[in-house]
C-alpha cells in the first residue's frame, strides 16, 4: 500500500507470500502431531526459520524442540522489533546503515547450506535463484518465490 496499491491487492499479495507457510505446515504436521488449540499455536509460529531449523535436526524430538524454540523466538522478537520500529523508525533510520539488508539473506544462506547434500540440491538451489530473479521484474511480489515450488515438483518427480 506504501507503493500505492489497494487494500485488496495488499491482502492478495500477502496471502501469496504466506502460501509457502502452508507448505511448511504440511512438513511440520506429521512431526508435531498436535490438535485443537495446540495446532492453532503451532500454525501461528510456522515460518521459514522455525521449519528450517526443525527439518535440519536428526530426530523428531529435536525437530519439535527446534520448531518451538525458533518459532516462539521469531514470534517474540519479530513483534517486539516491529513495535519498536513503529515507535521510532526514524531513530534507527535506514536498515542498510546497520547491514541488516544483508543479514537477512545471509541468515537464510546459513539455513540452506546444511541442506545442500548432493549435486542435485546445488542445481535445484541455483535454478530456484535464477527463476526467482528472472520473474522479479515481470511478476507481482510473491510470484517469483512461490512458483519455485514448481521446480521442487519437477526435480522431485524426476528421480
Amino acid at each position: 500500500m506504501g507503493a500505492g496499491g489497494s487494500a485488496v491487492s495488499a491482502i492478495a499479495t500477502a496471502t501469496l507470500l504466506g502460501f509457502r507457510n502452508a507448505l511448511y505446515g504440511l512438513q511440520m504436521a506429521p512431526i508435531l502431531k498436535v490438535k485443537g488449540l495446540k495446532r492453532i499455536l503451532a500454525a501461528q509460529i510456522t515460518i521459514d526459520e522455525s521449519t528450517a531449523v526443525a527439518t535440519l535436526q536428526e530426530n523428531d524430538a529435536d525437530r519439535r524442540r527446534g520448531f518451538y524454540v525458533t518459532g516462539i523466538g521469531v514470534f517474540v522478537f519479530w513483534n517486539l522489533f516491529t513495535f519498536l520500529g513503529a515507535l521510532g523508525a526514524s531513530a534507527i533510520g535506514d536498515p542498510a546503515v546497520w547491514g541488516l539488508d544483508a543479514a537477512v539473506p545471509a541468515a537464510f544462506c546459513g539455513l540452506i547450506w546444511p541442506r545442500l547434500k548432493n549435486k542435485t540440491h546445488f542445481i535445484v538451489s541455483a535454478v530456484a535463484i535464477a527463476w526467482a530473479l528472472l520473474l522479479t521484474p515481470i511478476t507481482p511480489a510473491g510470484i517469483p518465490i512461490i512458483t519455485t515450488v514448481l521446480l521442487a515438483v519437477i526435480f522431485g518427480l524426476k528421480k
Binding site: 500500500m1 507503493a3 489497494s6 487494500a7 495488499a10 491482502i11 496471502t15 504466506g18 509457502r20 507457510n21 502452508a22 507448505l23 511448511y24 505446515g25 504440511l26 511440520m28 504436521a29 498436535v34 495446532r39 500454525a43 510456522t46 521459514d48 528450517a52 527439518t55 546503515v97 546497520w98 547491514g99 541488516l100 539488508d101 544483508a102 543479514a103 537477512v104 539473506p105 545471509a106 541468515a107 537464510f108 544462506c109 546459513g110 540452506i112 547450506w113 541442506r115 540440491h121 535445484v124 538451489s125 541455483a126 530456484a128 535463484i129 527463476w131 526467482a132 530473479l133 522479479t136 521484474p137 518465490i145 512461490i146 519455485t148 515450488v149 521442487a152 526435480f155 522431485g156 518427480l157
Partner: protein, 102 residues
Amino acid sequence: MSAIWIAVLGASFTAFLNKYIGHSVPEKWLNRPSFMRINALVPIVLLSALVGVQTFANKKDLVIDQRAAGVLVALVALKFKAPFPVVVISAAITSAAIYNWF
C-alpha cells in the same frame, strides 16, 4: 475503519489460514514417496528464491549493491564452516561498511 486496517487485518487472517490449512492436511495424503521427495526440496527452493530476491531485488529492479558483497562473505564463512552468528554478523558488517563508506 481505514483501508490500511482492512489490509492489515485481512492479510493477518489469510496469513494464519495458510498456516492452519497446511497443518490440517490429512497425513495419509502425504505418505507417498514422490510427495516426500518433493517436500524435501521445498525448503531448498523457497529459501534459495528468498535469498536471491533479498540480495538482488530492489522493488522490481535487479541490482548489485552492498547486499551482494555481504551475502558473498556469508557464503565464504559457510564454506569455512563458521558458526551461524559469525555468518550473519560478517555479512552485516561487510554490507554496512560498503554502504556507509562508498
